[in-house]
């Protein structure tokens, strides 16, 4: 049967068609086509999940915990999460009505957006930032509005910058500190002025704190721990980074009961529940994994020290990232764009980094280099980058 000779509508929704494929993907394809590369492009820990966590998950399967869990997640895990978050970050949530175990922080961002956005609602996204925020806001019918941070401000965002982007349609604000890709952190007083603004304009604040444990110089301050902010915060975190559990696909979201119930509704229809065996691994992570978190954190911190200093030797400006495991040096001195720099570096020296423009406003002129790789790799990579930069300065 031949199709009717009329111009048919695309099979794909216009919403999906409007979304740009991630620039990460392009770089992945480029880097994968080459041999012997040292990758500083990986946005995840180089540790394997600690054995006690893996063992607990295996054991849960041996004991037959292979069925669906409660939609919101295994209750005991939710209880451990609330205890952990209270002890570590001074936020007080109810395990029964204010916590949802998700398929990674990624899902939490998605259902958070879908739970609160009507068509045309604007979400201010602080960038450079995680690549999923803007597409997920769009997919939920919202309108992403970028606010770019700058190296001069250590990639912190100020209330004035946000205020300038607020319109009558602004519904929410998306922040994430410690930040991917900049490694920036915000101190209590920095967050405090954002809190005042959020109150003033009645904003819902997405605070993606997945890197909270990896704060090297100051104790992390949760946005939800600020006076009066819990009511308007969707606090997102997970196990991927601190516990080296990226492949487990397990995160969580904490929010006041009305917001949480809305997210749970979406979660229940699209996911049913997070993987049960992963939840049992996470339970062990919270019960006895903190020593491992500390050990891994010390190791990142040492590598940060080594790596960040080497940019000064190369002649590239780099701020001291207070958290996560990324350095975000400026490559403007080379006169190359981020994409050119990253591509040439890959071809000429076989070192993979991620061009900063991929992470949105403020990212151009920078590259993201992950130091979650072995010291041997870091030493070799910095040697090659020095050679590369000296050719292009």
């Amino acid at each position: 049967m031949s199709p009717l000779n009329v111009k048919t509508k695309s099979r794909l929704s216009s919403r999906v068609q409007d979304i740009q494929p991630s620039g990460i993907r392009r770089f992945f394809d480029l880097a994968s086509s080459m041999d012997n590369i040292i990758s500083l492009g990986v946005g995840e820990p180089d540790f394997i999940t600690p054995w006690n966590i893996r063992e607990a998950s295996i054991s849960s399967m041996e004991r037959g915990f292979t069925a669906y869990s409660a939609n919101a997640g295994v209750l005991e895990l939710r209880q451990e999460i609330t205890k952990y978050m209270y002890n570590r970050f001074d936020v007080d949530y109810d395990a029964e009505t204010e916590v949802l175990v998700t398929v990674g922080a990624s899902e939490a961002i998605d259902i958070g957006c879908r739970a609160i956005l009507d068509p045309g609602d604007e979400v201010i996204i602080v960038e450079p930032g995680f690549v999923s925020y803007s597409p997920l806001v769009s997919m939920a019918g919202g309108v992403p509005v970028s606010v770019g941070t700058r190296i001069e401000d250590d990639f912190k965002v100020s209330a004035e910058q946000i205020r300038a982007a607020i319109t009558a349609n602004t519904k929410a604000l998306m922040i994430s500190f410690p930040n991917n890709p900049t490694g920036a952190v915000m101190l209590r007083e920095d967050l405090q002025e954002i809190a005042v603004l959020a109150e003033e304009h009645d904003l819902i604040v997405f605070s993606d704190e997945i890197y909270a444990e990896l704060s090297y110089d100051n104790q992390h301050v949760s946005f939800a721990a600020l006076e009066g902010m819990k009511e308007r915060t969707i606090l997102i975190s997970g196990f991927s980074k601190a516990f080296a559990m990226t492949g487990w696909r397990l995160g969580f979201v904490m929010a006041p009961p009305d917001l949480l119930a809305a997210m749970l509704k979406l979660h229940q229809y699209s996911l049913m529940c997070a993987p049960t065996m992963a939840q049992y691994g996470a339970l062990e992570a919270l019960k006895s994994g903190m020593d491992d978190v500390e050990r891994m954190k010390q190791s990142y911190k040492q590598r940060r020290g080594f790596f960040v200093e080497s940019f000064a030797e190369m002649g590239l400006a780099c701020h001291m990232p207070g958290g996560a495991f990324y350095a975000f040096p400026s490559i403007k001195a080379t006169g190359l764009t981020s994409e050119e720099f990253a591509e040439k570096l890959l071809y000429e020296e076989h070192v993979a980094v991620v061009p900063g423009d991929i992470f949105g406003a403020g990212g151009e002129g920078h590259i993201r280099c992950s130091y979650a790789t072995s010291m041997d790799n870091l030493q070799e990579a910095t040697k090659r980058m020095k050679r590369f930069v000296s050719k292009h300065l």
Binding site: S22, I24, F27, F28, A31, S32, I37, S39, G41, V42, G43, E44, D46, I48, F130, V131, S132, N180, Q298, Q302, R303, G305, F306, E309, S310, A352, V354, T373, M375, Q379
Partner: protein
């Protein structure tokens, strides 16, 4: 012990060959201060040696046998465990010696070229010490992990090359 000293110890315990410059960057402690710290720790015998973990089973010329020997001892009047221990650890074949709680008193780790060599050591040297009541010798068959290092494991990076 200061935090700085502790941090340096933790790093060089993993990698004794790390160069000073790298160590300085990793810890944000300057090279001169690191040198001074190392010197002090060596003098205080906190740092005893910078050694190498070798998998001798991969070296055909250097085949050797390791045994753990449980030793029961009667400490004689005026002769404590320490004196007996000293008489044992002075033998160069003895790689390690520990005072243990439980079913026996001293654990001797000894290395030799052959089982006969070890057997001779046990019967001629160890058993003949006055305070030694009995010995039980266990031969090591395979080394899986030693000093925190897993033998035979190539833990390659299984991550994909670029991720968000």
């Amino acid at each position: 012990m200061t935090d700085k000293e502790l941090e340096i110890l933790r790093i060089i315990e993993e990698d004794a060959r790390i160069d000073l410059n790298t160590l300085a960057k990793m810890t944000s402690i300057n090279e001169e201060e690191i040198k001074a710290i190392l010197k002090k720790l060596e003098e205080k015998k906190v740092i005893l040696n910078y050694s190498t973990v070798v998998d001798w089973s991969k070296v055909p010329q250097a085949e050797q046998v390791t045994a753990m020997i449980d030793v029961k001892v009667t400490p004689k009047r005026g002769v404590g465990f320490d004196e007996v221990a000293e008489r044992i650890y002075r033998f160069t074949e003895v790689q390690a010696l520990y005072l243990m709680s439980g079913a026996y008193d001293l654990q001797v780790v000894i290395e030799g070229k052959t089982m006969q060599e070890i057997a001779r050591f046990v019967s001629e040297k160890l058993s003949s010490i006055d305070s030694v009541i009995s010995t039980t010798t266990h031969f090591q068959l395979k080394k899986y992990k030693h000093d925190g290092i897993v033998f035979e494991e190539g833990e390659e990076d299984r991550r994909i090359v670029v991720t968000p």
